[in-house]
Symmetry: D2
Amino acid sequence: MSSQSQIPVVVNGACGKMGREVVKVVAQAEDMTLVGAIDKDPASLGQDIGDVLGCGLLEVPVTNDLEATLVMAQGQGLSVMVDFTHPDTVYESVRAAIAYGVRPVVGTTGLSADQIQELAEFAEKASIGCLIIPNFSIGMVLLQQATLQAAQYFDHVEIIELHHNQKADAPSGTAIQTAQMLSELHKPFNPPEVDETEKLPGARGSTLADGVHIHSVRLPGLIAHQEVIFGAPGQLYTLRHDTSDRSSFMPGVLLAIRRILPLKSLIYGLDKIL
Amino acid sequence: MSSQSQIPVVVNGACGKMGREVVKVVAQAEDMTLVGAIDKDPASLGQDIGDVLGCGLLEVPVTNDLEATLVMAQGQGLSVMVDFTHPDTVYESVRAAIAYGVRPVVGTTGLSADQIQELAEFAEKASIGCLIIPNFSIGMVLLQQATLQAAQYFDHVEIIELHHNQKADAPSGTAIQTAQMLSELHKPFNPPEVDETEKLPGARGSTLADGVHIHSVRLPGLIAHQEVIFGAPGQLYTLRHDTSDRSSFMPGVLLAIRRILPLKSLIYGLDKIL
Amino acid sequence: MSSQSQIPVVVNGACGKMGREVVKVVAQAEDMTLVGAIDKDPASLGQDIGDVLGCGLLEVPVTNDLEATLVMAQGQGLSVMVDFTHPDTVYESVRAAIAYGVRPVVGTTGLSADQIQELAEFAEKASIGCLIIPNFSIGMVLLQQATLQAAQYFDHVEIIELHHNQKADAPSGTAIQTAQMLSELHKPFNPPEVDETEKLPGARGSTLADGVHIHSVRLPGLIAHQEVIFGAPGQLYTLRHDTSDRSSFMPGVLLAIRRILPLKSLIYGLDKIL
Amino acid sequence: MSSQSQIPVVVNGACGKMGREVVKVVAQAEDMTLVGAIDKDPASLGQDIGDVLGCGLLEVPVTNDLEATLVMAQGQGLSVMVDFTHPDTVYESVRAAIAYGVRPVVGTTGLSADQIQELAEFAEKASIGCLIIPNFSIGMVLLQQATLQAAQYFDHVEIIELHHNQKADAPSGTAIQTAQMLSELHKPFNPPEVDETEKLPGARGSTLADGVHIHSVRLPGLIAHQEVIFGAPGQLYTLRHDTSDRSSFMPGVLLAIRRILPLKSLIYGLDKIL
């Protein structure tokens, strides 16, 4: 494959949990070249990122100089920066990437609505793509899209989400988001057929305004799972997503890197580019 | 098969939903003979019970004379009366059966603890078996036994029960019973690893004293389902029972009819004869 | 509701298993009026179809005169004939309905490709809608649509279908159809990562040309279930449909009755009108 | 806890995948003391095993001197050697442990029936416990025990096992073992109700002699899962085990270490000590 067809990719946060995975899949992707690995970890500074990850020499040293790396990447053509860093610094990094003409694919959470609005205006002015992706799981986006489609034909639906017992919050953010997407259909889900009595409080789970129940199971041995169950007389339609490893997010990262090139503005959410 | 080895069976409540199923399976069982069909339904009185059920002539007319039927059954050897009638009359019927020497297999609910105690004493005195079986589902008893066995090795467990949305109570009686069986092990289940926060109240379901969570799902299309999920680091062990039809209770009824013959006293619960 | 907004509906095969369900839901639908009940069953002829079904008087006698019923229905406005009859007669019935200006919604199976082609031409000439629907399950169509959507992003997929043990054929027609829909994407599914060895023949199930495995489970207690499982590193995405009762097909029948009115030609498959 | 109540434990194969996990849980167990870490890995020799594993100093250096370690362990009281090494050397190691009076808990596979017989005689003579455990998963043993219990009451059963697509063999060893346990009941499972036709070969899975079907699903994203489904009219009873991590085997290892102390002979299989 000629170098013209290669997408130069910088990974910001290259030594973090997600960053490491991104480095590996970018290095293996036939249409991408890893050109920069940025991280603040002093122990890795100057070392080859491939050595740090134990996956063989990649000839890209770890650096903490964001600007120099962006300048270098921009010089290699239509380039992309994948950002898995920290809520405190992500705004400045993304703004810098746009300023230097490197398209940001942002997985770091914690940007405020105001910050996203400002980045959108900045990207618009620069006429450069910017992707902010709170959840890179293609499978979960497919589940949510299929959920919305089914919700047109089913009036009854409940959500069960199951996570390991070290997760403190219930329900999970994704389950709440799924229920909110259903709420936005402004359809009265689960019209009651009988007067329900909870003999033990909480048995019927939690509910959002429009009647969608969410049940949260927490057990060791579980990882991250979500089930949406639609019911109608004589039938059930169930959508389930199971995540067992953060490698599951990598196809979404690669897709975002490929889809961002022709974009001219900020887009929020993986569903918009699927 | 010679008639000596046949068990004479009377069905009390023969025209009810459960009674009809019992009549059919008793009539087909090679080791049983249907000798009596008792019901108060005036429309069926005097008709052949096989005609009433639309399953071909059985040469047993529907009668409302309990005593005469018991006398006749007793005359045919070690006989059994299956009772699926009504809470108001079940005590008297069972007492009569014991008095006339016909062994009662009782599926009717509603007997008080006092009444059961009195029947136990009466059966003891008469030295005759009596089975009171609140749930004839062999599958559910197996699930509960396997649950107790697993609970010796797992410290974390949750219950999900799923029923049609015309069920008013939550959790189901069987789910509560299963949780109580776990509670009786006096083991602190589900010791928390983090401080849990319910962002929406009820998300984590209901709990009994010893920490077993029960989640109740209600949807049209569901029938009657229960899942017990055990979790430990790196593994899950799940037991699930699905009921789709009351025919599922018939193997338990046939088992009870066969197991009652050698008994000399009252026994409560299908688990005791499995 | 004024009679103008009511859709006059004839049910052909009104005393059959599916026909009975259709009669009941049409009679209850606020925007439909049952105007004809056709059946060849001599025992029901001339009786009120509501009496035959035991659901209360409907003031529609069972008749075996198809033509007279079609003429009558056509006189009442834009009318529809739902056909659940027999492969031997369905072609003639549908042709007659089109000829008399009554829109056919056809659930009867057994029409040949040639016959469907001829009916399509006939409907086109008459400028009248005709719906041929081999599977009225909206849930299953949703599952198949979501399957095709997911197949764009996942390379690995297997199908498990589970049916009662009185089903003679394996795999089920719907599972084969689902696999064929995947085959038509001309994507090499399930590229092998290792040399597979079947220690017991058949372990890996059946396969269509493009590598989609289908596994068929047959057990009493099962009714009709299908599961499509997509896998990728670190994640699974599972779509499952459970049917427990033929009432599950009725929303699809009602939808077809409503959607056929504006049509001017033959359409095949529920997915086309969803 | 006083040192008398501590069980001295040697891990043979301490730097292997399973050995590492064993070292960690033994070090954390309140009633055990890690006294020896044997491995042939030259890179680790002489280093503290805690440092090798990155879990903090354990003050036990890695050694390749089996005999010296056994002598030392035996000197500390009723001691145990856990062996996760290699089929080529396991026989000699276990024989040595017995000879030196250290109880072997053997997870290494590959011992022949003859070798196991010889070890049994040797342990008997030495009057010392020896546990050979092909599968340390307590959850899977519980599933198999519950399967045998259910098989007394259900005549229909199928097995679905699901593994990642890098597993070359199908069905899995555990699924075959489960089916064999059912076969040993000499019960004709799954008596056919209809003449089955496989429209696609392999659809109905593989079968052992007594009619138990096994279906093997292989997908990335799966780890190791087994489902046993029992069916009867109107009901299903399903047992499922999911393994996501080898940490799931550690409770079985700890149990074996505790249960071996009072034993005087060789025992095969975790089920025997549960």
